[in-house]
């Protein structure tokens, strides 16, 4: 039996931050356990030096800490080799790297890139632009009424013109868990590469890139209790070899000559500039922390909390819930609207109750168009949440109905 109250105590913000704090915005960014904060502090206090740039002990140990972090992240998602992990600033940067460094090279006029209707703008806009530049077509995998991907209505997804499928594993709005395995299996038969946006899944559920057999997978640290400013791109070795670096500069070259230059090995060639050592160390600490608790345990806990919230909200009346209905699998993300009340008002009144939720389009305007709304309110859960957070959310919603509902 996992002691979730003790786990909550691992997160200093719940003791030292603004009180009360019912933090239900983890899908935007998760809170940090003390071990992550301390590891960053330890790095700067005791171990800090330039990475891959010095011959003295501090520089050597800094390089070793950085590469050890890469090995930890590789292990965390079961990548075959650490070199398949490229550290970036964010999942967003990782996707842009694949769009501009990989897709832009191979895309021909008339080719197709497929994304789903529920993608975050960061897994939409890079493809929209590269398609426009190359006279290629951006195709959309539609959704059904439950907010599930509708593969049967995606004619051509595995067709001759399909060059890449880029799809999210978990929707940041609907909480839908997509049939990534099925999509990859279909794509493999036609040798179509698949990029998985795992920003809402890595660190929230077990993710195994070898088992998934995806070509690319991206995630960021800050959504999985790690620091801001660091994420990664996982790529199969041959795919990364096909990718051109976007940023040129220090640390990513072998030989630089007036006439021409040659790139360093992978992954260094994608990591121009001084690496984010403290970020990598904090990221690895977060991965170890979550691994120590157990990803299946975290996944179940968060699903239970979201399901409980779903049931409570369903019983209130006048609340529209989006995404998979009862009996269907969903993650710890729940979007809703209250009849006649703007989501910003819901979020504002929630804030006055110490409840932190998100309101807006969640960087998913194509999905909002599908839902026929301009915005939603969203509660999202992580391992530190509990039933009191749900009760506080409900109280806030009832208060919003009292204040702003029809009089």
């Amino acid at each position: 039996m996992v002691d979730f109250a003790a786990l909550r105590a691992d997160f200093p913000i719940f003791a030292t931050g603004q009180q009360p704090l019912h933090y239900l915005d983890s899908a935007a960014s998760a809170q940090k356990p003390a071990c992550v904060i301390e590891s960053i502090s330890q790095c700067y206090n005791h171990d800090y030096g330039p990475v891959h740039r010095g011959l003295y002990p501090l520089a050597e140990s800094a390089s070793e800490h950085y590469e050890a972090s890469r090995r930890t992240i590789a292990h965390f998602i079961n990548a075959a080799r650490p070199e398949q992990i490229v550290f970036t600033r964010s999942a967003t940067e990782s996707i842009n790297l694949v769009a501009q460094g990989w897709a832009a090279q191979y895309l021909q006029p008339g080719d197709e890139i497929w994304v789903s209707q529920m993608e975050h703008h960061s897994n939409f806009l890079p493809w929209q632009r590269v398609c426009r530049k190359r006279d290629a077509r951006l195709r959309i995998i539609p959704l059904d009424g439950e907010g599930l991907i509708d593969l049967e209505k995606s004619k051509g997804l595995f067709g001759k013109k399909s060059r890449l499928i880029a799809v999210t594993q978990v929707s940041n709005v609907l909480g839908t868990i997509n049939p990534i395995r099925e999509i990859i299996a279909g794509a493999k038969q036609r040798n179509i590469p698949v990029l998985v946006d795992a920003a809402q899944s890595v660190g929230h559920m077990p993710v195994d890139v070898q088992d998934l057999d995806c070509d690319f997978l991206v995630a960021s640290a800050h959504k999985m209790c790690g620091p801001t400013g660091i994420g990664f791109l996982y790529g199969k070795s041959d795919r990364l070899a096909e990718t051109e670096p976007l940023l040129l500069g220090g640390g990513m070259v072998d030989e630089v000559d007036i006439a021409s230059s040659s790139w360093a090995e992978i992954p260094a060639r994608f990591e121009a500039g001084s690496p984010n050592l403290a970020g990598a160390v904090g990221f690895a600490t977060a991965a170890n922390y979550l691994h120590g608790i157990g990803l299946p345990v975290i996944e179940q806990r968060v699903k239970d909390l979201a399901l409980l919230t779903y049931e409570h909200l369903s019983s209130v009346g006048g609340i529209q819930l989006y995404g998979p209905g009862p009996g269907l699998d969903r993650s710890g993300i729940l979007s809703f609207n209250v009849d006649g009340i703007h989501p910003h008002d819901i979020a504002h009144i929630a804030a006055e109750h110490g409840v932190a939720i998100r309101a807006g389009h969640h960087c998913c305007q194509p999905l909002m168009q599908h839902l026929g709304v301009s915005s939603t309110a969203r509660a999202s859960f992580n391992l530190y949440n509990n039933e009191r957070d749900i009760a506080a959310l409900l109280a806030a919603i009832l208060d919003a109905k009292r204040i702003l509902g029809h009089r």
Binding site: H348, A359, G360, S375, I403
Partner: protein, 148 residues
């Protein structure tokens, strides 16, 4: 809920019982303001006579702050000279963009004062006012060129 709540009675009254809301057909000049980030969309219409804002009306959708602010605006600008209306708009904009007491908020707009602590919502409160400023611009431009 704390005393610092933005949902004060005056604001809620304007939200629940909006003044001068609805049809804009009889207005001389209509301008639209929108905030795609939250899906707020407001249309403001004015009817002027001899340099005076005879009528100010609005319609649209938005959050309670946006709609209440629009309603308050119609109430306190109807009957003002164009120059006075501009001053009131400028006062509100300056008050929101400052953080000290160098600018005093017009007392008729006191119900909007707590919104200054919530930068994300200032846009909501100003949306209708910006649309009003545009109607004034358009109305004055038209007068200068002599067209009706």
């Amino acid at each position: 809920m704390s005393n610092e709540s933005v949902y004060k009675e005056v604001l809620l009254d304007h939200f629940h019982n909006p003044r001068n809301k609805g049809e804009l057909d009889a207005m001389d000049t209509v301008r639209r303001g929108s905030n795609p980030r939250c899906g707020d969309e407001i249309e403001v219409g004015i009817a002027c006579d001899n340099g005076v804002l005879e009528t100010v009306r609005f319609r649209g959708r938005g959050c309670s702050i946006c709609l209440a602010s629009a309603s308050m605006m119609t109430e306190y600008t109807s009957g003002l000279k164009l120059r006075q209306a501009r001053q009131l708009i400028a006062n509100l904009q300056q008050w929101f963009s400052s953080s000290d007491d160098a600018v005093a908020l017009n007392e008729n707009l006191a119900a909007l004062s707590t919104i200054r602590q919530h930068p994300a919502r200032i846009k909501c409160a100003l949306l209708a006012w910006q649309a009003l400023a545009e109607t004034l611009d358009e109305s004055e431009d038209r007068n200068k060129t002599g067209n009706p």
